[in-house]
Symmetry: C2
Subunit: 445 residues, 2 copies
């Protein structure tokens, strides 16, 4: 399929931060073949007007648990321990394999509508998520979560061998749109022996790892007591930071001095999910210091049980606003940096390092935003408009690998009506509500 | 006009926090006449389906500068002094009276689309804003900003007498939808003698005051040096906190111990605009402590030059998320409190104290949100959905005083196409851009 986008403003996110006016974008198959001037030899099969629109590389989401959409709004304004023990684990005790499919499908719809085309997911029954990635046309890096200290085999919590088998089964699938990673939950839920075994298997299979790391001062204290090392140094000692693909670690809320150098030297990608930290009153990770020390930081949403939604526009805003206030420096994390942290950085973190720039030869992972709503006007600075004022509803077109996934409110690869019926029905079943107590009866026509 | 909303979920925000399912709402003229069961004697002229919608009292905005929409996106990621001196004042030096009309009209469109029906405005050439309020059907409390230390008469910066005359001219206009206030800029831009004269005139005319107060540690230090009092105590000593209507003060970023008691005892309303504080790296006001000490706090957006937009959904979210993190307490500012801070609290702060509850006899100031987008599902908790996930684009219907202002993307009282053309044209002229350098040519068909 050859598509021409005409007369559009293009935020290229290239090395020169070029913003092109009244430009064209040509897409041939999975690839962008021209940006700016489109040669007359390019004969499009589809033409889209970019008038009053702005084109941007599509967003990637560095860390989430997609099927936890089913628990969105189920546990609000609670302290972390009560949130987890009284609500989340109770609901998840009723989780069935097919729930994961519909929860992930709902997440796919939400992400696509919000301009996210790729994500790193970490949960159970991940074959179901892989099926959603296949059919939705998205890109993903999938890890089957492994708890090495608790009873295995329950509720999709598979044995070590089973989660490794998932990696073998799906890595490189869907025409290269799916990467997989080893998925130990964290150094506090998996023993050092298990972490080392994951490192060996990852070496054998040529993949990376995705885990939670250093989320609280308590975890750091416990790790120092148990292993004589910070969680970062402890994980580094297991070999998980020396894999064929860079490691992806979520959070790093609490770091000690030596941790920055380890993360930077090992090329570890740190997923930063600020809404979850604020909502659950967790310590905010030192991302300005990480960035200063050349640690790879990438934005993510975390799962909707903690984060409420999967909205990278808001995540950029929250990350930037918080850091400006914290640093007492209004110049901290300026607009173009935030756009990179939500596009190039997470794309690279999850294995799609060619994405995140609009230039010839790059994958056609891009979005168009409609700039006619009042919050965009006057259009002094469209990049700032995206970061500081825009919403998922502004996103008009979404392409992933050259395939159009979303167009003016319509999902082209998903049956959204069925998804919302199934996801809501299953979510209510999980938490023990009957259809009669549903707040709103879903419309199924 | 008699309107019936059928089969809707109603977040009443009444004293019992009642949420009604499959309820009706009857509107007769300017007033809600039934919520829940609608008596069969009510014969509607218009019927609206509330299926898959949630009804909420409309938002009010406790502090803004509407015409500064024209400077949205004009000064990003800059320190406060450079933001003000190099960008905002330079642009405003080219401000013309009619610009204020079109800037305020753009703000009205943005606010209505976002479910805000009333606002407190503080700027120049306020007759133009009053005209916008009249025609848009909104409610407002308008103050003509007065600088008592600088040269007067320039650029809509009128003499003391002229700003007082504005109050007389418009208070109670538009069928009671317009209140006015005295508008000294602040105790650092108006002398004590001027503040006392404003207090005398407010007593004579039976109105209140709206001013900026105690925005930085520097202001507090300067005030202590110059007057031997904090800004709060200094303004209290001028009589401005003993007026016929409660005072409205913006910000109070920095308070000393005795200030809390003064604000509480005098019934002062403090407008809290968290996005501006973060964006300009200002100190965050101690609102949890204010609320604990029974100070009236109300949420607002501030002007779009600093805040980028006029989105109370986001303001609720930012206020709540920040305070949870700051207090290290995930239970701080729970959902129902945030909803009140964005509805009842600012309505009361600007003179419309009957608004903010959906109950018989209350003004018909309400909105319906469509809950079918992915970020709402599953609908475990619609109130949390509003606070933590929703966007202006979810707002489907907006009523103010019983008049339908907005319906499914259409503005019923505003000529939005003309507004966006004029606002953008004038904004570009102000900052010295010609039409040729406009990033996007507005479509005017």
């Amino acid at each position: 399929m050859r598509t021409l986008i005409q007369d559009v403003t293009v935020i290229t996110l290239d090395d020169q931060n070029r913003i092109l006016q009244h430009a064209g974008i040509a897409i041939d198959g999975q690839t962008i073949c021209a940006v700016g001037e489109v040669p007359p030899t390019f004969i499009p099969e589809a033409i889209i007007s970019g008038e009053e629109m702005v084109a941007l590389p599509a967003f990637f989401n560095a860390h989430t648990h997609t099927a936890m959409t089913l628990e969105r709004g189920w546990a609000e304004d609670l302290p972390f321990e009560r949130w987890l023990n009284e609500k989340i684990w109770v609901a998840e005790s009723a989780l069935e394999e097919e729930d994961v499919y519909w929860g992930a499908a709902l997440a796919a719809a939400e992400m696509i509508r919000g301009g996210i085309v790729g994500f790193a997911d970490h949960y159970f029954w991940m074959d179901q998520v892989a099926r959603v990635v296949e059919t939705s046309g998205m890109k993903a890096n999938l890890a089957w979560c492994h708890f090495g200290l608790k009873s295995e085999q329950e509720l999709g919590r598979k044995s070590f061998e089973d989660t490794v088998a998932f990696v073998e089964r799906w890595d490189g699938a869907a025409g290269g749109r799916i990467f997989t990673s080893m998925g130990p939950h964290s150094p506090y839920m998996d023993s050092p022996a298990v972490l080392r075994r994951f490192a060996e298997e990852a070496q054998r299979l040529g993949v990376g790892v995705h885990l939670h790391l250093s989320e609280s001062a308590r975890q750091v204290q416990d790790s120092l007591k148990q292993y004589g090392k910070t969680p970062v140094a402890h994980v580094a000692s297991t070999g998980l930071f020396d894999l064929p693909r860079s490691a992806l670690v979520a959070h790093c809320n609490v770091l000690q001095e030596a941790d920055f150098a380890i993360l930077a030297e090992k090329g570890v990608h740190v997923a930063h999910t600020p809404k979850t930290y604020q909502k659950l009153a967790m310590q905010m990770p030192p991302i300005l210091e990480m960035l200063r020390r050349k640690v790879h930081v990438a934005l993510g949403t975390d799962g909707p049980a903690s984060n409420s939604d999967l909205n990278m526009l808001e995540i950029m805003r929250l990350a930037g606003l918080y850091q400006k206030g914290l640093a007492a420096d209004a110049t901290a994390l300026p607009v173009m940096d935030l756009l990179r942290l939500a596009t190039q950085a997470p794309a690279s973190a999850i294995g799609f390092s060619e994405s995140g720039v609009l230039a010839p030869g790059r994958p056609a992972d891009l979005i168009l935003l409609d700039t006619t709503a009042p919050h965009w006007l006057p259009r002094h600075d469209l990049a700032a408009g995206i970061v500081y004022t825009s919403h998922p509803g502004d996103i008009a077109y979404v392409w992933c690998n050259g395939q159009l996934l979303y167009q003016q409110g319509e999902f082209l690869t998903l049956d959204y009506k069925r998804i919302r019926f199934e996801a809501e029905r299953r979510a209510f079943r999980m938490v023990g509500k009957s259809m009669h107590t549903m707040r709103i009866t879903p419309r199924t026509e």
